[in-house]
Symmetry: C2
Subunit: 199 residues, 2 copies
């Protein structure tokens, strides 16, 4: 199943194709693929080149390790996330090299994850980020220091048909994709006034 | 001037090509191009599909509007940012639809900006995000409500040769691009222990 974005203006195929499914096949990802994903994350931009991102990751094949990540997910995500090829946790370093708070820590971690997602999409992999995980449990499970904050759990894998999902998730998977139109969030001369470029 | 990332593992050309230059030509971007940039931002993922991102934007041709954005930049960015084709400001909505704080507001705004950057790169445009701007001034200038927070200023345009920069910025533009190696930020069984996938 694919689910391209119904765009109003032309965008690159990798942007159009990206989608956060819940239905994943049990196919594997290779170590080589995973290296390309993190290499893409590595080359994101960051404020003062602080590179505040880190990741913890396990492949599903590594059952004991994967179970530790899976066990941090909220119950709502567990019915579908068990078949993904890999689970990763993004982590942001809250302070910069000079010791002062880095207000772009989470922002720049998201830029790195976005790069990872583009790379995944280019390799026919799909991703699904989740805020629904227990950050306190993850911190204890993996020994994440107080200087760093768990940000999001990331499912990575091969998309499957919605039919493979538990019944209550199938309809949700087939819902039309919706977004606010450009004129509602691209402003020109003042807040709330749509830019001439998009109106 | 181009400046591809010196990667250790293969990544998609759009990831490799992305770079934040300071040298921009005075060429224009079209309204059509700008619509594709924001359309790409529109289709980013977000927590609960809250789409917490908004943008304010001006083309350089629209001199009076552009000056209002330029005037919010810190002095360190003004020597180079005057020739860019467009300046945009990303803005995050701090609360979700149910009124509770959206902890992913800035994160998801960055995901939208990352999509914009990929789209720009695919159209041979370059971007340079800046934390160096006066958010209080921007809030007053454009009437950004207290429910929303200015995040980053984004320069968009056509890359130029480093020779076009003021002398003190030229060397900086030509510095090698550096990032931490994967083994320093991709962990497996515990924090700080490099994943087998990257070691």
């Amino acid at each position: 199943m694919t689910n391209p974005a119904p765009t109003d203006h032309p965008v690159h195929p990798l942007i159009e194709k990206r989608w956060s499914p819940r239905a994943f096949t049990s196919a594997s990802v290779t170590a080589e693929q995973m290296r390309s994903l993190f290499e893409a994350a590595r080359w994101a931009a960051s404020s003062r080149n602080e590179q505040p991102w880190s990741f913890l990751v396990a492949l599903r094949e590594d059952e004991a390790q994967f179970a530790r990540f899976f066990g941090c997910l909220m119950p709502g995500n567990q019915p579908w996330a068990g078949s993904v090829s890999a689970l990763a946790l993004s982590v942001a370093e809250a302070r910069g090299a000079d010791g002062s708070p880095n207000k772009y820590a989470v922002h720049d971690t998201a830029l790195a994850v976005a790069n990872l997602i583009v790379q995944a999409t280019s390799m026919d992999l799909y991703t699904h980020q989740m805020g629904g995980f227990d950050g306190t449990k993850a911190r204890a499970e993996f020994g994440i220091p107080e200087t760093h904050d768990p940000v999001a759990m990331i499912a990575i894998g091969h998309v499957a048909d919605a039919d493979t999902l538990p019944e209550d998730l199938r309809e949700r998977e087939r819902q039309p994709r919706v977004r606010r139109p450009l004129a509602e969030f691209v402003y020109g001369s003042a807040w709330g006034l749509a830019s001439d470029l998009v109106s």
